[in-house]
């Protein structure tokens, strides 16, 4: 007869019993065990989510197969608990659950890893190593999501989660790759709890993680319990981040519990969270002091959102002169026009926010523009007997010029809806045959669509000619411009064409993507750390806060002691002598053309299926002028820098920052790192890179920079 001794659970062999199994099935499992496996097992444990009826007839052979080693049974019980019993010849003897559960769970999960034959364990051959999402350099990476490939494994893992999900008010998971496991555990327990996963590792996206945590907290009672599951705990940084986040949001009575499915045998990580199973420690180094890197080993970053080797395949592309060509004529004509180029501006007519905007009153008043407008009107002679313009200042200015050119009636109206027009104006439209609509700017053509719809619904026409002339066409891609021309004529009987006095391709970024809105978020985070923000911060914040005025002078973040510069001569992409604002518009246009390059191999497109990211050479060899580098840091988006190339770009620019002629990039590098456009840095790197700019304020700036 088996004798119970807790020490016997040091290396138990665990088995998962399917629904409807009996003790006879359990016996059979031991009998089929290979001799080596039998020998190393100190005990046998059977796990079942449904009750197992004790049957003495089956128990006797089961215990005989066990050959004196203890046999324990773990069964899902009421109240989300797990009942633990020792199987004897005469019945079941209840055991102290906690210890048994911990030991069997550890054995079962390690067994799962063993059965998986290491498919979820990545150990690179050759001179490579990994950088985990917590920025730990290591020789081994485990992706727990790869364990979840069949329902039985899912159920087997979900079994261990039940005591914890059952007592939770909300569940947070560290990444989406193991979401199915937690959702299965909830499904098995018939629980409908608030649930969410972190979008990325908090080291890379603390703001996103904060949003998720806060959203969950808002859905649970004040004294509720939030349970977090982490796929694998290594350095403990993720759990520490979560704890810090919750500490900021301390609510009386809120209970937080964190469990790692797997954990390395790391004392600190184990202190921070409970751990279901421990795997042997691996070789690890910090980001700043990696022996593997020092030996020339290539660091392969693990994607902080998907937790896999997503970034291994990252073809790189180069921003080149042809990308800037389409914008050059516009820039050359108006580069010295004060107040024309605006960033971070709310449109006074429609209230929409524009990352890039042009002051149309300034442009229309420009003599060269006026000349070009007149010549456009000349090309339309005989084609116009009515001019329509939207009801805003630039629209009225254009309409006045058109009136002079065509000597015909003018209607100022935003929609041309029949119900909104005066009877006299409606009659004027009804009498017209050759319509010209003049507008200041066209992006997507929504106003044009509205006009066309109103004219059709109002049953005007038929028109012989329908032309649309805008002061500036600023589509987000050349393809958009073609679509606009098509919109005007496709499906209509009238002859028509789309004319623009000027053209420039620019991103149509709204508030969420506007780099200056992101800058406001970033530097206000730093400023809040000061009781009295220093002047460089408050002056910049004042500008960013005033979206009605927008920014018309310096688009870049300049750190203390750094002054605004103009473009030097002989740049391959940007004309010499232009201001940082004009250079920003030119590069914004060039990058946008790069994003829509007709050749997919040259296209800057980090997404599927192209996958191209910015080559680090763009900033290291091609464009060495500080101003261009600074502007690229502002305009290139997070995914566009890529993972491994992003690290290379970051490290190169951090080194360059030491050069006296590269101080212009300091503010933009700080901002790119702070908003996560470039991969994160450690506090040590921050100090060595930026100490010279902040002097006595360094610690406060650093505290805001690293604030989660």
């Amino acid at each position: 007869m088996s004798q119970w001794n807790a020490n016997a659970l040091e290396s138990p062999r665990a088995f998962y019993l399917r629904e409807g199994s009996s003790l006879a099935d359990a016996g059979e499992k031991i009998s089929r065990l290979a001799a080596d496996e039998f020998r190393v097992a100190s005990a046998f444990a059977f796990i079942s989510k449904t009750p197992i009826v004790f049957d003495a007839t089956s128990a006797v052979p089961l215990l005989q197969y066990a050959a004196g080693k203890p046999v324990v049974l773990l069964v899902a019980d009421k109240g989300f608990s797990i009942k633990t019993d020792l199987i004897t010849q005469t019945g079941l003897a209840q055991l102290e659950s906690e210890l048994v559960i911990a030991k069997v769970r550890n054995a079962d999960l390690l067994q799962l890893l063993h059965e998986d034959a290491g498919a979820c364990v990545f150990e690179p051959y050759g001179n490579y190593h990994f950088v985990t999402p917590s920025l730990t350099h290591t020789t081994r990476f485990m992706r727990i999501g790869d364990l979840l490939h069949d329902l039985e494994t899912l159920d087997r893992l979900a079994f261990w989660l039940r005591p914890h999900v059952g007592k939770a008010n909300a569940i947070l998971v560290d990444n989406w790759s193991i979401a199915s496991l937690i959702l299965r555990a909830l499904q098995l327990e018939r629980l409908d709890l608030p649930f969410d996963c972190l979008p990325e590792h908090p080291t890379h996206n603390s703001a996103g993680c904060r949003t998720v945590v806060e959203r969950l907290l808002s859905r649970i009672p004040a004294a509720g319990k939030l349970v977090a599951f982490v796929s694998i705990s290594g350095s403990g940084k993720l759990v520490q981040h979560l704890k810090d986040l919750l500490a900021e949001r301390t609510r009386a009575g809120l209970c937080f519990e964190c469990w790692s499915i797997f954990g390395y045998e790391n004392k600190k990580a184990r202190e921070l969270s409970g751990c279901f199973a421990l795997v042997p420690q691996r070789e690890t180094y910090t980001n700043d002091d990696c022996k593997l890197c020092a030996q020339g080993s290539v660091a392969i970053p693990i994607d902080p959102a998907a937790y896999h080797l997503k970034s291994l395949h990252e073809p790189v592309v180069f921003l080149s002169k042809p990308h800037a060509e389409p914008a050059k004529p516009f820039i050359d004509r108006y580069r010295d026009t004060p107040g024309l180029f605006l960033v971070h501006h709310d449109d006074r007519n429609d209230g929409r926010h524009h990352a890039f905007d042009l002051d149309m009153v300034t442009l229309i008043s420009h003599p060269e523009f006026a000349e070009r407008l007149v010549s456009q009107f000349k090309s339309l002679e005989g084609e116009v007997d009515l001019v329509v313009a939207p009801n805003h200042e630039p629209g009225k200015m254009l309409a006045a010029e058109a009136g002079k050119a065509f000597h015909c009636p003018i209607i100022i109206h935003d929609t041309l809806e029949r119900a909104a027009l005066s009877p006299a104006d409606a009659q004027v439209i009804a009498n017209a045959r050759k319509l010209l609509i003049v507008d200041d700017v066209v992006n997507s053509g929504s106003r044009l669509k509205r006009y066309i719809q109103s004219l059709r619904e109002g049953q005007y026409g038929p028109f012989d000619a329908f032309n649309y002339l805008v002061a500036v066409a600023r589509p987000s891609s050349p393809q958009n411009l073609a679509a606009l021309s098509k919109l005007l004529t496709a499906g209509h009987t009238w002859k028509g064409a789309f004319y623009s006095v000027e053209q420039i391709i620019l991103p149509t970024w709204s508030k969420d993507q506007c780099p200056w809105c992101l800058e406001f978020d970033f530097i206000s985070r730093i400023a809040r750390e000061f009781s009295r923000p220093p002047q460089w911060l408050s002056q910049r914040l004042a500008k960013l806060r005033d979206r009605n005025a927008g920014i018309a002078d310096e688009p870049l973040l300049l750190l203390p002691g750094v002054t605004s510069v103009v473009m030097g001569e002989e740049s391959p992409i940007c004309p010499g002598g232009v201001s940082s604002m004009v250079a920003t518009f030119l590069l914004a246009s060039a990058l946008q053309s790069h994003r829509y390059d007709n050749d997919p191999k040259k296209q800057l497109h980090p997404g599927f299926p192209v996958g191209n990211v910015m080559s680090p050479e763009n900033v290291s060899n091609r464009y060495t002028e500080g101003l261009i580098r600074a502007i690229l840091l502002r305009l290139v988006r997070r995914a566009e820098w890529g993972q491994a190339p992003g690290i290379e770009t970051r490290d190169f620019l951090l080194k360059e920052l030491r050069q006296a002629n590269q101080k212009t990039i300091a503010g933009e590098l700080l901002f790119a790192l702070g908003r996560g456009a470039l991969p994160p840095i450690s506090t040590g790197t921050f100090t060595s890179a930026f100490a010279e700019f902040f002097e006595g304020d360094l610690e406060v700036v650093k505290s805001g920079f690293f604030k989660t």
């Binding site: 603390s206 703001a207 904060r210 949003t211 806060e214 959203r215 808002s218 449109d347 006074r348 007519n349 429609d350 209230g351 935003d414 508030k511 809105c517 406001f520 978020d521 530097i523 206000s524 985070r525 400023a527 809040r528 750390e529 009781s531 009295r532 923000p533 911060l537 408050s538 914040l541 004042a542 500008k543 960013l544 806060r545 005033d546 005025a549």
Partner: protein
């Protein structure tokens, strides 16, 4: 030549008191405060505007307190902090001052606001207060939207629901009950306050840093006689309180949204030959909007809605908008706006709504508020 000016802040400073806070360019201004110093109902907004004016002209602003700050100032808790500096007006004063000297002669210039901001306000997500008043503190330019009303790190304008939940929380801290702002009528009021809050965010003036925000103050009255004696009640409110006190309990709430922006009428496009006062009143007419044409039928509904909600609550509204002040007593039949004379020269907007919180739901008189 620079003049030295001194202003004393009494126990319940009134709009008239703070309207005198003024100086010439380069003057040195000193505020004398005592432990009991504070602001009466409806005065917070005027105080914020007046401080903004002083700050834009004075060469120095000193706070000289007639009491000692806690010795353990760096680790102080809200309970130990002087009550004046737990109010929105008090925080604005502390922010405006570049010198703070206490009764013991200690120079607290570098620590007083630092402690209030970093130790007390930021840690509470932008909220400060005690059992008498609670405030949501906004600071230009780095914290226009305090963390308590934000759902994420960004400076995105909060949703009305997020704003409402903060109002309910602040009211709860004052003892207004768990269901404060839970009724449909009170939700209507919060909708209006949210509109005012949003306007303040959108109309921030980039010319000067400063403090603005939302303040909820409590008035407790035991007996009718107190109405005449209590200096917390401004004179223009005494009739209203007296009339409403007869029927209702003695627990009153005043919610104020106060900024130092341009003022309501100034941001509204004028009609031909329209004077300031009718232009201010027009802002409360349905369909009036200063916002661009967006096609939304909800434009211009924010301010007019308050009249309906105030009538349902039998509340009193006080508006102080760049040189104009107006009172609307919704508890009387045929109520209308009346202009309140105030000293000129104050810029900014404050909108206050004041009403008795009863144990009966404003929606349905038979429901309880869970007080």
């Amino acid at each position: 030549m620079a003049t030295k000016l001194q202003f004393r802040i009494p126990e319940w400073a009134s709009v008239e008191d703070v309207a005198h806070w003024n100086c010439e360019a380069g003057d040195e201004v000193e505020f004398r405060v005592k432990r009991e110093s504070g602001f009466n109902l409806f005065t917070t907004g005027a105080a914020i505007s007046a401080l903004h004016r002083v700050r834009s002209k004075a060469s120095s602003i000193t706070i000289r307190s007639e009491f000692s700050f806690p010795a353990n100032i760096r680790t102080v808790s809200v309970n130990e902090w002087p009550s004046l500096f737990l109010t929105l007006g008090g925080i604005a004063l502390l922010h405006a001052a570049n010198r703070v000297i206490d009764a013991a002669g200690a120079d607290l210039s570098s620590v007083a606001f630092d402690v209030a901001w970093r130790q007390l306000i930021l840690k509470a997500g932008g909220i400060i207060g005690d059992g008498k008043s609670q405030s949501l503190v906004c600071r230009e330019f780095d914290s226009p939207i305090p963390e308590a009303v934000r759902s994420s790190e960004t400076n995105k304008i909060p949703s009305r629901k997020e704003f409402e939940s903060v109002l309910a929380k602040l009211g709860g801290e004052l003892g207004a009950g768990k269901k404060f702002f839970g009724s449909i009528t009170e939700a209507g009021v919060s909708g209006f306050l949210f509109e005012a809050f949003r306007n303040a965010i959108e109309h921030a003036q980039p010319d000067q840093e400063g403090i603005w925000g939302v303040s909820i103050e409590k008035l407790l009255l035991q007996v009718n006689d107190e109405i005449v004696q209590r200096k917390q009640i401004p004179d223009i409110l005494r009739d209203f309180v007296g009339r409403r006190f007869l029927k209702r309990s003695g627990f009153w709430i005043c919610v104020t949204v106060a900024d130092y922006g341009l003022g309501i009428q100034t941001t509204l496009p004028p009609l031909q030959d329209e004077a300031e006062w009718p232009r201010l009143l027009r802002a409360f007419e349905r369909g009036t909007s200063r916002k661009p044409k967006s096609g939304s039928p909800n434009r211009g509904q924010g301010l007019p809605n308050i009249i309906d909600e105030a009538r349902r609550l039998n509340a009193c509204i006080f508006v102080n908008s760049t040189g104009l002040a107006a009172l609307y007593d919704a508890s009387v039949p045929h109520s209308a706006w009346s202009q309140i004379p105030i000293p000129s020269g104050l810029r900014g907007t404050s909108i206050s709504i004041f009403w008795p919180v009863t144990s009966e739901s404003p929606d349905q008189q038979t429901l309880t508020l869970g007080l």
